[in-house]
Every structure is written in C-alpha cells, then in structure tokens.
Symmetry: C2
Subunit: 122 residues, 2 copies
C-alpha cells in the first residue's frame, strides 16, 4: 500500500479489515442472540462453531479494545469472565443481522450459481 495518498475510503478499508473478519461477525452475533446479555468464555467457545480458543481470545480482545464489547472479570477461584456487547456494539447488531438474513435467503441461489459455473468452465 502507501501508493495512494490515503483517501477518505481508507476508514472503511481499515475497519473492514478488522470488523469484516469472519470470527468477529460471528462472535458479535452470538453475543447478540443469546438470551442472557452476558456470556462466559467457555460458552462462546462452544457456541461459535469451529472457533479455536486462541482466535476467540484474540477476537474478544480486539472487540473490547474498540469499545464494542465489555469484559467483566470476577476474581474468584476458579476465575469467571463474562462478555457482553457495549451499547455501541449492540448498535451494530441490526446491520449484521441484515447481512446474515441476506445470506440465509440467498445461500441456495449462490450455491446453485457456483455449481453451474463450475461445470461449464473447467
């Protein structure tokens, strides 16, 4: 990069790199969909399909760092940590749910298009 003088769209560009990440979106949706607003680390680990413990840690840290998630640490033995969406994080949820709904609606058509494309052009 550093070839164009950082246009205005660079803010979008930068956020897409982090927020557009697969795990980020899935973790936020999981936090939003669960009945209880606060979720424990191990629960998220189970419910976000396929995420590794490392990526969940990294993702939650990034979200906390940007003010989208609040981390509640309880200094007990064994320790208990809960995560919940901040008001700003919660305000992002509708956009993500719209995105997720679009996927659910068009998933079959996209897979069909992909198969058609693949049989035609080898």
């Amino acid at each position: 990069m550093a070839k164009s003088p950082v246009p205005a769209s660079c803010s979008e560009h930068g956020v897409m790199t982090s927020l557009g990440d697969k795990w980020t979106i899935l973790v936020i949706l999981q936090l939003a969909r669960a009945p209880e607003p606060r979720q424990r680390f191990s629960r998220l680990r189970r419910d976000v399909a396929g995420i590794s413990q490392r990526m969940l840690t990294v993702t939650l840290r990034m979200l906390e760092r940007h003010g989208l998630v609040v981390r509640h640490y309880h200094a007990e033995v064994p320790p208990r940590v809960e995560y919940e969406l901040s008001p700003m994080g919660a305000s992002l949820v509708p956009a993500l749910e719209t995105f997720a709904a679009w996927i659910a609606t068009h998933w079959d058509a996209m897979m069909q298009a992909r198969d058609d494309y693949d049989v035609q052009e080898p």
Copy 2:
C-alpha cells in the same frame, strides 16, 4: 475443522469466509456507487483504493462464480471487459451500505476507545 458435525450455522460461516472478505465488500460497494452500472477492470483497479490487479481478478471471479456479478466480455482489440452487479448482487448492496454507514458513524468513537485502551494497559 471437521470436528463438529457441520451445524446449520456453517452456511453463515462459509459465506462469511468469502463475502466477509475485505476486498469483496469494497468491490461490490464500488460497483454499486458508480453512476454507470457497468465498470471496466482498469477503472475498478483505480477506484478501489489499494487493491492489486491480482486480488481484483480473484475477487471478481469469485463474485461472478457465485452469481453476484456479471462479466461482459467484448472481443475487440484491445479487449474490453465490463462488470456489473447481477440482480442478486444488487440486492446485497443495502445491507453493505448499512454496514458502511455504521462504520462512518462510529469510526471516531472506535478510534477513541482504542487509544484509551492502549494507554491504560501496556
């Protein structure tokens, strides 16, 4: 992966991996925002800030493969190729614009939160 028996959320998971990609979102938005519905390769290359020729090719191929973009090839000399959103691709745009609008609105707050976080915890 292949540890959990591929739950229903795997569709979201799978699409996020491709559609959630940074370049994919930026290319779709560029195709949607330009006044002319059809855009030439070289124009997209210029307008999508920072994208390499390789990634633009890969991204457009993937979008075409999934039925979100239509490729118009004109066998002239020199050849001319135009891309435009399919109806399905266009139907995704509102969701992405909502996402982009959220980013524009909350960008400053996120950067502020990030700076606050960074000075506190070294």
